[in-house]
Each structure stands twice: as C-alpha cells, then as structure tokens.
C-alpha cells in the first residue's frame, strides 16, 4: 500500500499553482533586493523617508529600511512576500476542507477507506510542504542576492526571517483549515484565514504608533514574526507562538471535523 495517498494527490493536483507562486515570489524578490545599493546609503532616499509622516513610516515598518536586513524585511519578508504567501496560504487552507466540501467532492473521498483525522492531517501536511518549498525558495533567492545587492545578511538572519515568514503563512493556512473543518463554508474559511492575517498586520501597525496602543503587538501574529527584526537580529521566541497557533488550529480542526456531518 502506498503511503499518504491524500497528501500525494493534493501535491500532484497543485504543482502548477506552486510554480506560479514561486515565479511571483521570484519576481518580487528579484525586483526589490537588487535595488538596495541605490537606496541604502543614498541621501536622497533617506530624505524621502524622513519627509514621510512618521506614522506612515512606522506603519510600513520602514524605520529600519536603511540597513540591508531592514530593507529586506521591509520590502520582501514583511511586505510583498508576506502578502503573496498569505494569499497562497489562505486559498490552500480554505480549499483543503471547505472548498472540497462545497464543491461536493469531499463526500466521495470520505466514503473510501480514509478517516477524517487522516484527511485533515494529510492535507495540512501537503500545505505545510508547499509553503516550506516557497519559503526555502525565497531564502535561497535572498542568499543568492545577498552579496551582489550588498544586503549584508547573516546566515542565521536569513534562517530566522524564513522561519518568521513560514510561521505567518502556516498559521494562516491552518486557521483556514480550522474554519473549514468547523463550518464547511469556503467563504468563512477564507474570511477567517485572511482576516486573522490582516488584523495581525493592522494590530502591528497601530501598535507601532504610540505607547497606548503598544499592547496590540502582543496579539499580532505579524508582530510575533517580524517585531524583533529576525533578519537583523536572528530568532526570537515569539516566532514560536505562530507555530503553536498552527498546531492548535490543526488539532481543533481535526476534533471539530470528526464530529460533524459533511456536505449538508
């Protein structure tokens, strides 16, 4: 008997999409990082940043943008790469149970020799693998561009940034699986996954604005990932929270999905 049939089916069905996401991430990384030498020490660019309203600069996390690590986080890891991976994670997470169920195709899969637990876990594993491939791809590109683009990134900074990015995408995807496992509605799963990611970003941006709003950082997954500037300063314990959320979401998804009727 061949192992993990559901996981392999998901991967086989989605490798084209995966290549698309990889190309998108390559475009973002390949366009932004090589521009750093013309920005980093450039006084005109610094003047532009300084002329921006300070609230905007902190909302966009541009306060570190003059360092290579700050620039890489401000453009790729914490912005466009984050957005692309969040979209991918949301759509995959919502499709895993809710999308399949709404299309009416989940019923026949579950009528075969698979358990509900196995279905959730194998599909979660497939998404984890796909997201890992994309994050490794981004890390690889950053490593390659590090020298030519004069970013001055350290190896452990790239690893920490990758783990932060992976953690945000993974928790987003698993929240999509959780909402789908509980409700079985794709729109709700998309809303939950994207909603948490967007709310986390907003909470971080607001928390950056003032002392009174700083508490928002504590509830922002985005801040857990990028608040401690992983590309510059390496791993921070808060990144672990993202993985705890992801694991908790999968566990609850399994428990909820085992209990309910499918396709009604």
């Amino acid at each position: 008997m061949s192992a993990l049939p559901l996981m392999r089916r998901t991967l086989a069905d989605s490798w084209r999409g995966l290549i698309g996401w990889a190309l998108g991430l390559a475009a973002v990384t390949g366009l932004y990082l090589p521009l750093f030498p013309s920005f980093g020490g450039n006084s005109e660019f610094l003047a532009i940043i300084e002329s921006l309203p300070p609230e905007l600069v902190s909302a966009l996390n541009y306060d570190q943008i003059t360092s290579g690590a700050g620039y890489t986080q401000g453009t790729v890891y914490g912005l466009l790469g984050f957005v692309l991976l969040t979209i991918a994670a949301t759509s995959w997470g919502a499709a895993a149970i809710a999308g399949d169920e709404e299309r009416g195709t989940l019923e026949l899969t579950l009528a075969h020799g698979v358990s509900r637990t196995q279905l959730v876990l194998e599909r979660a594993a497939a998404i984890t693998l796909k997201l890992a491939i994309l994050v490794i791809w981004v890390s690889l590109l950053a490593t390659i561009l590090n020298g030519p683009s004069e970013l001055g990134l350290e190896a452990d900074g790239i690893v920490a940034g990758g783990l932060a990015l992976f953690g945000t995408a993974l928790s987003t995807a698993m929240i999509g699986i959780l909402a789908g496992g509980v409700m079985g509605r794709r729109a709700i799963a998309v809303g939950a996954a994207a909603g948490v990611a967007v709310a986390g970003y907003a909470a971080n941006a607001l928390g950056n604005q003032s002392e009174e709003l700083r508490w928002l950082h504590a509830v922002s997954p985005y801040h857990w990932a990028f608040g401690a500037n992983p590309l510059a300063d390496g791993l921070d314990a808060a990144i672990g929270l993202l993985y705890l959320v992801a694991i908790a979401a999968v566990v609850i998804a399994v428990l909820a999905f085992r209990r309910r009727d499918v396709g009604v």
């Binding site: 020799g113 358990s115 009604v264």
Partner: protein
C-alpha cells in the same frame, strides 16, 4: 446470520426539519434491495448515514455487523458507494482518479480491475474527468464503487444519465456482484430498474419505511388492467356480474357496433373473475401483467395525502 445492513429506529433531524423518523430496515447478505420513494423521502440521508458521512440524531446502524461511526475506514473499505449527486471536477484523467480512490482503499494494484470495468461500461480512462459528459462521469462513479469488490454496494440512483445499453451493463455488474455474495442496496425512482435488478423493495416515504417486501409480492398486490369484449346483447348481464366482484374498480363500458368492451381494474379475485366470465360467451379477454410502477405510485400518492392531511 448477521444482516449486511441493519438500522433500528434511525432518526435524523436537521434543526427543525426531520429527514428520518425512526427508520427500521434490514438487508440480508447477498440480496439486492431497491430503496424507492419520492424526492425528499430520506433515501440519500439513509445511505449517507451508512457511510458515516452524516451521523444519525438517534437510533443504531450496523453495516456488516459494525457501527459505521466506530469502525471507520476499515469498514468503508468493504463498502462501495456511489453518491446520488456525483460531482467530479478533477483535471486529472479518469484512470488516475480511479487509481487514487483505489489507493484510498489500500489497493495498490487496482489497474487491471479498473480497466476491465471501464471496458464493460465503455469508459475512456485516458480522458480528463472534467471533460467527461454526465453519463461518463456516472461510469467513473460506478467503476470506483465496484472496483474493490466490496461486500456491500450502496448505490444512490446508479443509472441516472446512463444510456440503455450501459444500463444493461450495470445490471449485469449487479448480477455478478450478487453471484459473488455481495449485497446491494440501490435507490432509484426509475421503478422499472428496481423491477429488473432487485429482489426486495423498501418503500420510503416522509422519512419512514412504508413497506418492505419482495418485488414479486409488490407486483402480486398491484392492480391488473382487465379488458373483456362481449356481444352487445350480453353486456348488461356481464356488467352486473363484474360490478359485484370485490376486487374490481373503475369499471367502464364502451360500445363498438355489435360488441361492447368492458374495462376495469382488478386488485384481487382473479378466480372470481374467471368464474363470472364462464357464464357468458366472451369474444376477447386481456388481463394485463400487474404493474409495479402503479403499485409504487399508489404508495407515493398515499404519502402525499398523509403529508397534506397530517402536517404538523
């Protein structure tokens, strides 16, 4: 002997709507049982409970002696299921999809059997599933249900969308399955299909089992159309005789020149009819084969009256 399928006091509620009101049913191993009933009677709900896709609100279910909820994948590998609303939108080929379903059942080398079934039903395994017509998707559904030679086949509207030739191929698959001791529960609202395929009939209406019997019994209980042609001079006397028969209804007379055609519908008392006719010279007599469809439709219309009369 353990029943292949057994349900006791099976109830399913969705919020306020009750889909099943305490269904009791028993399917003996090796039988082909037709589950019939109007739309919304609970056929699909019953079948989905047997597969543990939905869970009963109360009551017990056993398939091959096991509770579907407890037994899980181990039991489902022994069941072949064809959903009533078969949706297939995969971009992979039919062959790959079928191999995938076989892998879910733990069968690594299912290709020869899949190929054989596809040949018999006339399905091209190389085409992508999305590109298939409704009838061809239905064939994919049938192949995945029969492929692993399951002990129990649960088929919801198996021949919908199939042309008559393929329907015949399906019937031969069902016969083969029962020859090998497999049990088949199939739902349909095409009564002629039940007539051809099934040994027993379960009539489901409004979430209750209305009748359980063999196809032969249902047919025997069905009305027969009777048509007698006599000379005009004998008509009045014969009409009198026929009207007195307890099983006769809807008696009508039609004059055609020198002869009169009497038509009626007979439920019981064929022997009484014969003796009534013996007293007269009869020019022509036709007693039609009892109509299963009419017998079943009478259950449906009873159900409709019950529904309007006994609304909660």
């Amino acid at each position: 002997m353990t029943a292949a399928i057994e349900a006791t006091a099976l109830t399913k509620r969705y919020g306020r709507r009750t889909a099943l009101h305490g269904v009791d049913l028993r399917v003996e191993p090796g039988r082909v049982v037709g589950l019939i009933g109007p739309n919304g009677a609970g056929k699909t709900t019953t079948m989905r409970i047997l597969l543990d896709i939905i869970r009963p609100t109360s009551g017990t279910v056993r398939v091959l002696g096991d509770d579907p909820r407890e037994a899980g994948p181990r039991l489902r590998r022994r069941i072949g299921y064809l959903p009533g609303e078969l949706i297939m939108d995969s971009r992979i080929t039919a062959g790959r999809l079928l191999t995938h379903y076989a892998a879910l059942n733990g069968e690594a080398n299912a290709a020869p059997r899949i190929g054989e079934l596809a040949d018999r039903l006339g399905l091209d395994l190389r085409r992508p599933v999305t590109a298939l017509s409704k009838g061809n998707k239905q064939k994919v559904g049938l192949v995945q249900a029969f492929a692993h030679r399951p002990d129990v086949l649960i088929l919801d509207e198996p021949t919908s969308g199939l042309d008559p030739l393929v329907q015949q191929a399906f019937l031969s698959l069902v016969r083969e399955a029962t020859d090998e001791g497999q049990t088949v529960l199939l739902s349909s609202h095409v009564i002629s299909e039940i007539d051809q395929a099934a040994d027993d009939v379960l009539i489901l209406r409004n979430g209750r089992i209305a009748q359980v019997s063999t196809v032969a019994e249902v047919r025997a209980a069905a009305d027969r159309d009777v048509r007698v042609t006599v000379r005009a001079v004998d008509a009045a006397a014969l009409t009198g005789h026929l009207e007195r028969l307890p099983g006769m209804s809807a008696l009508s007379t039609q004059h055609a020149g020198e002869t009169v055609v009497l038509r009626g519908r007979l439920s019981t008392g064929l022997d009484e009819l014969v003796s009534a006719l013996a007293a007269q010279p009869v020019l022509d007599l036709v007693v039609a084969e009892p109509d299963l469809e009419r017998a079943v439709l009478s259950f449906y219309s009873d159900a409709a009256t019950e529904q309007t009369g006994g609304a909660q």
